[in-house]
Symmetry: C3
Subunit: 267 residues, 3 copies
C-alpha cells in the first residue's frame, strides 16, 4: 500500500500546487490536453512562437514537446524550447509521435534527444523507432506492437540519455536506469479516442512540476490516467462519451476509487 499512497499524494499535490505546464504540442489534441491539465489541477499554457518560447519555458514549471503535427517552424521552436529547458535544468517530456513514420521525424527526434528529455513517453512502435532498432514497425501514429516488445529499446534509450522511458499500451511500462514499473490499468476503448497518449505525456509533465523523483512522477501520471480511463469507460457508450467522462473523472476521482483500481507493480 505504501506505493499507492505515495502516488495518491503526488496526485493531490497537483491540485494544491497547480504547476504551469508549457505545451508545444500538436493541433489535434491541444484542446483535450489543456482540459486534462485543468481537470487534474495544473495550469496549461500553449505557446510556440520563436519570439517568446524561451521566456515561456522559463516561467513554466515544466515543458512537454509533442511532434504530432510538426513542421519546419515548429521544429525550430521545439529545439529552442528543449535547449532552454536543458540549460536551465527544467524538467521536460518528449512525446515522439509517429517516430519511424518518416525520415524527417527521425531527424527531428535525434536532434531533440541531444537536449536530454527528463522523460520520454511513446507507444511501443515509437520507442522502438526512437532507439533505432525496428524502424519499419510504425503505422502512422498508432502502435503495431505490444508494450513489452520495446523493453530492450527503452533500456537503450534510458541509458543513452539518462531519461525515464515510458512505453504506454495495454500495460504501461516505466523504466529508469535501476527500476521498472508495470501499470495494468486503462481500457482498450481508450485507443479509439485520439490523443490520449498526448494527454499522458502532458500529465507526466505536470507531475514533474511537483514531484522530485522523476520516475515516481511518471508512474503517478500514468496511474492517474489509467485508473481514470478505466472508471470513465464504465459510464461510456463509445469513444465520444469516453473522452468526456475521462475529463470528468480526472477532475473528480476519489482516493477510494484510486486505491480500489490501481494495479501498479514494481519489478
Amino acid at each position: 500500500m505504501a506505493m499507492e499512497k505515495t502516488l495518491w499524494k503526488h496526485i493531490q499535490s497537483l491540485k494544491h500546487r497547480s504547476p504551469l505546464v508549457h505545451n508545444i504540442s500538436n493541433y489535434v489534441v491541444m484542446n483535450n490536453t489543456a482540459n486534462a491539465l485543468l481537470a487534474v489541477g495544473a495550469s496549461p499554457v500553449m505557446a510556440h512562437a520563436q519570439s517568446e518560447v524561451r521566456e515561456m519555458v522559463q516561467i513554466a514549471s515544466s515543458l512537454v514537446i509533442n511532434i504530432g503535427t510538426l513542421d519546419e517552424y515548429w521544429h525550430q521552436s521545439m529545439l529552442t524550447a528543449a535547449e532552454t529547458a536543458h540549460t536551465s535544468g527544467k524538467a521536460w517530456v518528449l512525446d515522439p509521435v509517429g517516430a519511424g513514420a518518416t525520415p524527417y521525424r527521425n531527424t527531428v527526434l535525434q536532434e531533440l534527444l541531444q537536449f536530454r528529455p527528463t522523460v520520454i513517453r511513446g507507444n511501443a512502435s515509437e520507442i522502438a523507432a526512437l532507439a533505432n532498432t525496428h524502424q519499419s514497425s510504425t503505422k502512422g501514429v498508432d502502435s503495431t506492437v505490444e508494450s513489452h516488445t520495446a523493453i530492450d529499446d527503452a533500456h537503450v534509450l534510458s541509458r543513452a540519455y539518462q531519461a525515464v522511458v515510458c512505453i504506454s499500451g495495454a500495460t504501461d511500462i516505466i523504466i529508469d536506469e535501476q527500476r521498472i514499473f508495470y501499470i495494468s490499468n486503462g481500457h482498450p476503448l481508450m485507443g479509439k479516442v485520439t490523443g490520449l497518449g498526448c494527454t499522458a505525456s502532458a500529465l507526466v509533465a505536470a507531475m514533474l512540476g511537483v514531484v522530485e523523483d522523476k520516475t515516481e512522477a511518471t508512474v503517478a501520471a500514468m496511474a492517474l490516467l489509467g485508473v481514470a480511463g478505466e472508471l470513465a469507460e464504465q459510464q461510456s457508450k463509445g469513444p465520444g462519451s469516453l473522452q468526456v467522462n475521462l475529463l470528468d473523472k480526472l477532475y473528480s476521482m476519489t482516493d477510494n476509487e484510486f486505491y480500489a483500481y490501481i494495479k501498479c507493480t514494481p519489478q
Copy 2:
C-alpha cells in the same frame, strides 16, 4: 436490399482493414475528424510538413485535403500532397471549404483540381463556386442554397475532372459520369455542429482505402454518417451532446440499425 447490404459490407471492411488515412485538414476540426476516423475503424494521421508530406502520402491508404484554414505554407503542402497522390495513383478527396468566399480560395482550388481528386465533397454553395457558375452564393463556410441547386455544377465538375462529386446537405447527392445517388438521412441539428462536412470528407477518404468502386465508397461513407447522425440526434439535447453521441454511434452502429434507417435511392 442488395445496395444496402453492399454498403454495410463496405462499412465492415473499414473495421477489418483499418486503412491509414492521411489528413491535411483545418485546425477547427482535426480532433473530431481523427476521432470519427478511429470510431469507424480507420487509423488517422495528420501531417503537413513539406519535409515529410510526400512520404506520408506514400505510406497512407488515402488522402484528404481540406482547405478550411489554409495559408501560403499549407497551400504548398497541399499541392505537393495532391501531386504525389496523383502521380502515384493514390485516391484522394478534395474538401473545398469556403470555395467562393475569397479569390485566394478559388485560386488554390483551381490548382488542386489539376491533380484530379478522386472525390470532391462540398456543400451546394461550395460545389457551385468550384464549378465557377455562382461564385457569389457563399456565406463564409455554410451553404446558402439546397443540394439539388448544384446538380448541374456537380455534373460539370465530374465530367471535367473524372471525379465523383458529392453535394452534401439535407439530401446528399453523389454523382459520377454515369450514376446519381440520393441519401436522405441525417438531421438538421447536424448543421449546428462544426465540421461534420469535414468529417464526411475524411470518412469518404477512409472508405476509398478499402473499396475499389469510388462512387460506392462515397455513398457508403455518406450513408454511414447520415444514419449515425440521425440515430445520435435521438439521444441528444443539443449540438454539444450530438457531437459526442455521433462518435459513439459511428463506433457502435449495428447492421439492424443501419438497415432500419438507411434511405439511399439511385436514380
Copy 3:
C-alpha cells in the same frame, strides 16, 4: 425587467440574423468557439491567411482577434485584419490572452490597440497587464486576481482607446466611458474548461454583428454565456460534461430560464 428584456431581444437577434463572425483565434479553442457560435445562431469562419484576411474581414459582420497561440505569421495577419476592420468601420473584439506573460505578447498587443478594438475582453490579470500597471501578475493564461482589482485599469483602457472593456471572472464587469455593469452569473467549474474566455470574446463579436450599442452587445453576450454555464453546470459531473452541456444550453436556453437566472446590475 427592462434591461433583461432588452438583453433577451439581442440574444434572439443572433438566431434571426445569423451574423458571419470572422475568428483569428488560437489552436486550443477553435473547435469549441465555432460550436458556441453555431449554437447561439451565428455563422463562424476561421481564416488567417495573409492572402485572404482583408477580404474575409470585409465579408464578415464582425471580427475577433485572440492571441492565444500567436506567432510571427499570425501576428502580421492579426495586424492586417485589425487595420482592415478599423479603416472600414467594422466592429472587432480583442482577446489579449496571456497579456503580461512575455514581452512579445505585450508588444503585439500594443500594436493591435492602435487599431482601436471595439471591445476588449480579458481576465483581470490580462486587463491589468494591458493597461501596463501590474505586469507581473499574470500566470500563464489564467488570472491570479479578482475582477474588481482591474476596474481602474479597465477605465484607463476604455478612455485611452474609446473601447468597451470587459473584465471576466466570478463577476463579469463591463465598462465604457460612462457606464459600468456587473454580471454575477456563471460557476467556478467553468474555470476548469479551457477557452471559455475565448468563447466569451467570440460571443461578444457575434453580438456586435447585430446590436448597435456596443456596451449592451457585450453585456448581452456575457449574460448569455454566464446563464448558460450556470444552467449547464447543474447537469454536469465535471468539466468534460460541462463543456458539452454548455453548448446544448447555448442552443436551447428559453426566455424563462434566462429571466430566472440573469443577475445583471448596472451601477
